[in-house]
Amino acid sequence: MSKEWLSWRSSRQVSLRAAGRYLLVVALIYTCAAAIFTGVMLTKIEREAKFTRETQIPLILSQTRNAVKTERLASLIRAIYLARDRRLERQVQLQVQALAQGFPFEAGDALVAGSKRVAILAKEIATARQQARDSASQNVTAFTFEERATSAYAEAMKTVDEMAKELSGDAALSADKLAQEIESGAARTRYTVLLTVLMPGLFCIVVLLLARRHLAKPILSAIANLHRISESTNTVPARSRPILTELAMIGDAVVSYGEATSELRRKNVVLQALAEEDSLTGLANRRTFEAFLKSALGKNGFGGTAVLMIDLDHFKSINDRFGHQAGDQCLQSLALLLLSMDTLPNSLAARYGGEEFVIVYNAISEEQATLEATFLCRRIESMRIPLEDEQTLTLTASIGVAFARGGDEKDMDDLISRADKALYLAKSAGRNRAICDKVAQREREARTRTIR
């Protein structure tokens, strides 16, 4: 399952370039969509505004005009009823007619019918009044005409009232409708603007989050790996493979660079070891021994530093008699033995040169060091070195011991030469023995005294 997951992950990789291209495409699509959406929206609003200006506002204005005309009609009716003068009645009646004739221009059927009716009633009032005047002598008839005029007036005023009601209702309704349309248009615009403004913001946040996850994280992990390389610790591959191909490549390159570096470092260690060792015996070489001795002298531990200078006895004749191979074998065997001496505190065994070896260690005292050296002589003596033809060979060695309590680097040469002198004494005293340089000194002094 994890394999499938991994393959799916790797198949989901995207190159930085492609990611940039996707981003560009998304931004372009969004811009176009927003432009089209906004354009359509604004065009719609523009159309609505135009409709309002060209249709609705003129409609409301025309209703206002109709209302004014209706009001005018009412006042003319009042005027004709109150005129009681033939000439004035005629004038007002003509005005009512002309005004009523104007209604069909921009009024509904109810208003036109109403205005027509009012014009007829105005004429009726005028006629009734004229007839009342003509029959002024006969009281009863005059009264009838007067009554007819009054009822015509009442009906005309009622008609005008109805017209006014219809108008105010219409005007209020269309004004309210207009206000509602404007309001909903404004709300739509608000949401559109909010949406088009918020969308890029959200998009930016998403892009930033993605960038942090897929851009910054891999880069930071690569940097952390570079630090690990410089601190010579092991690199850690990213927990999840970056989606962006280039970053994955960089991460991989850093990891493999780290691996190469640690490999190189390992090889360096081996090479260094090779430089410090004697190639035949695997012991430290003379240079390493000197460095070790220097640092040992610098340390102020308990006791002091003992140097055991070991030289195989008659090694030249072994070489001559049994060949160099046998000689080498002897050297290697001794080296193995010396290596087993590493139980001594802070010890180092080294090949000093030719058949000469040395052990340096942190000894308690000169006497203890001499004892160790003597013990070593015994062990060398008991060694059996196998030769090709099932023969064995025995060896002996002479050891010169020198001891220094404390001291520093400058005492190194002195210590070595003292050990050398002790070795010489051991050789001249008959070989296969260990002699301390102090003992040698005492013996020398004794001999001089004897001579004297």
């Binding site: 005309k69 003509l94 005005q95 069909p104």
Partner: protein, 249 residues
């Protein structure tokens, strides 16, 4: 930045101010169509003239007026004797082919007037009746097509047509309802009244326009803008109320 902006605004204002420099306009009217246009003590007056003056003020133009007989008024415009006609001219397709029309500045309709003896304005009821009309008007055209059984008596202008009615050379007169209302309020017109219903034809429900040379769209636009302005700022209503007992817009 701000300085640049201010400079831009300054330039814009300067340019727009330059564009609306005071120019002169020659305006023709008939001068024989009371109360819309007429001559009184040697001076052109009337609703049309006042409206034209208000428009000129809004367009910041110096206007000169001249009276031109109705029959020649369109030809004069075509002959570039003047720039605008403000003479209660109704819109017709035939006229629109020759000259350009503004938005309407008032609306009216046609009626017949005559003695009280006439009550019905239907063409059949008026067979054999003499009806007076002014030459070259939409009413005259309408009479010719709709009142084929009546006798049509043509006059050169509106006062002449009214004279025909007063002198009993015609029984009825066709004309604009508002114009004739003014006539019927004069002592000579007092004996006449509207005959029946207004003539119910869309053709005669007409609107009055200002006209300019064919293709002079810029001038028509300016006139329309000024017309809208005087309608909205109350100038129009003041002029209207000086002549008529109700709004004729």
């Amino acid at each position: 930045m701000f300085r640049l902006f201010a400079l831009a605004i300054g330039i814009t204002i300067a340019v727009s101010a330059g564009a609306s420099h005071a120019d002169s306009l020659r305006i023709a009217t008939e001068g024989a169509y009371p109360p819309f246009n007429f001559v009184e003590s040697g001076e052109l007056k009337g609703f049309d003239v006042d409206i034209a003056k208000a428009l000129c003020a809004k367009m910041s133009a110096d206007c000169t007026f001249q009276a031109v007989p109705w029959k020649e008024i369109i030809e004069g415009l075509e002959g570039n004797q003047y720039d605008l006609i403000v003479a209660s001219m109704a819109y017709t397709k035939e006229r629109a082919a020759r000259i350009d029309f503004s938005s309407p500045y008032y609306r009216s309709h046609s009626v017949l007037i005559g003695n009280e003896t006439f009550q019905d304005s239907a063409p059949d009821a008026l067979a054999g009746v003499r009806i007076a009309a002014e030459t070259g008007t939409i009413q005259a055209e309408y009479l010719k097509s709709a009142y084929t059984k009546s006798t049509i008596v043509l006059a050169d202008d509106q006062p002449a047509a009214q004279r025909l009615l007063i002198d009993k050379k015609a029984d009825l007169l066709i004309g604009d309802a508002i114009e004739l209302l003014t006539f019927m309020e004069t002592p000579q017109g007092a004996v006449f009244s509207y005959v029946g219903d207004p003539i119910s034809s869309d053709f005669l429900q007409s609107s009055a326009h200002i006209t300019a040379h064919k293709g002079n769209k810029a001038l028509i636009e300016r006139v329309n803008a000024a017309l809208k302005e005087i309608k909205l700022d109350g100038t129009y209503d003041r002029i209207n109320d000086a002549y008529f007992p109700f709004s004729i817009y």
